[in-house]
Symmetry: C2
Subunit: 217 residues, 2 copies
């Protein structure tokens, strides 16, 4: 059966919590670079079809560097836009966030190869960074807050089997400045880490003092 | 070939960064509960032999609730104690931290089933939460700071193949109060989360306000 990925993407005003280090323009560009990283991983995985769900304007498909895909626009909130997108869909769907640039094709394939009806790949603090739905038309998503637990509970309520996918690289969503540390440590071959390097951002570590590793510009 | 795990463990004065929520005695007890969780996962994995490397006193093997294992004492620093422990060892060794209570047997087995000489399972901020060494006698460890990168570089310098193991549950080491959030969200069946619940710690989330999930007591 064909397997489709939906990638919600918000460019306009993206990543406001990075504003101590990056200008608005740079943050919007970083969001686009991260989207390119996620699309690259998807295009190397078993996913057959990719749809970008643009939840803010200011974005054209020509800006994407990766293969062929569909772009839909829906400027409502994330939950409303996604629930409309999956309603009536009979094929399995992977909903995957656009701000997890470290995600690997292997990890996506591992999710796909599991057997449960609903599979959650958690982010830090209870988020859901990827969500595989075998029967999307029978489910509705609820992002924000402890969505990871909520998605598992909804699956149980619908008598669907569910599981948690264990991936560090999927768990790293880039929201805060400390998340950039992970991107610079592990993202050597990503568009987004190269973009940060081009802007002059780098890691600062002092092994002797046992202080935390930081990102500086 | 027999496969051995070494678990460095420091009880005395453990987890000082949790002191806003937990007393010294509670933190030391939490450290012991987390050790029990790691030992449980190891005992359900393909690991044949478990050694606890106690790097502080105040700890007796009778306090461990899981199976048979060896305890060695070495009160020097982590690197010195570990490098002594692995020198001259010809069998493969998994060094695994005692403060990653969410670790699963599946994830340990996945590490073991890989082919590289050196496999690093990263923690946040560049740490190394588990390290599999096929030829421990030819390697030396270097924890603290960006040890994840340093271990990969050392492997390359020694002409050993190396890889990164992608596990969220291994990446969650419990150092800071915000790490307890992960333990309470995902650790339902762990000794350590049950201990925190018994102390009255719980999650506080307010979905409407989009504020972060917090741990309160």
């Amino acid at each position: 059966m064909e397997l489709k990925a939906i990638v919600p993407f918000k460019r306009r005003g993206a990543k406001s919590r990075l504003k101590r280090l990056l200008t608005l323009e740079e943050r919007e560009e970083l969001a686009l670079m991260m989207l390119n990283d996620v699309l690259t991983a998807l295009s190397k995985s078993m996913i057959d079809e990719i749809e970008i769900l643009a939840t803010s304007g200011g974005f054209a498909v020509e800006e994407i560097e990766i293969g062929a895909m569909e772009v839909k626009y829906d400027e409502r909130g994330l939950n409303e836009a996604l629930n409309t997108a999956i309603s009536g869909q009979e094929q399995p769907i992977l909903i995957i966030m656009a701000d997890i640039p470290l995600v690997t094709p292997d990890s996506i394939n591992e999710m796909i190869n599991r057997n449960e009806d609903v599979i959650v790949s958690p982010g830090r603090r209870g988020g859901t960074n990827a969500l595989l739905l075998r029967k999307p038309s029978l489910f509705s998503v609820s992002y924000y807050g402890l969505s990871c637990i909520e998605h598992l509970e909804r699956a149980a309520l619908c008598n669907m089997s569910c599981g948690v996918h264990d991936s560090f690289f999927m768990s790293v969503d880039i929201d805060e400045i400390e998340d950039l540390v992970e991107l610079l440590i592990h993202g050597k071959n990503t568009y987004s880490a190269r973009y940060l390097n081009d802007l002059g951002l780098h890691l600062h570590a002092d092994k002797e003092s046992k202080r935390r590793v930081e990102v500086v510009r």
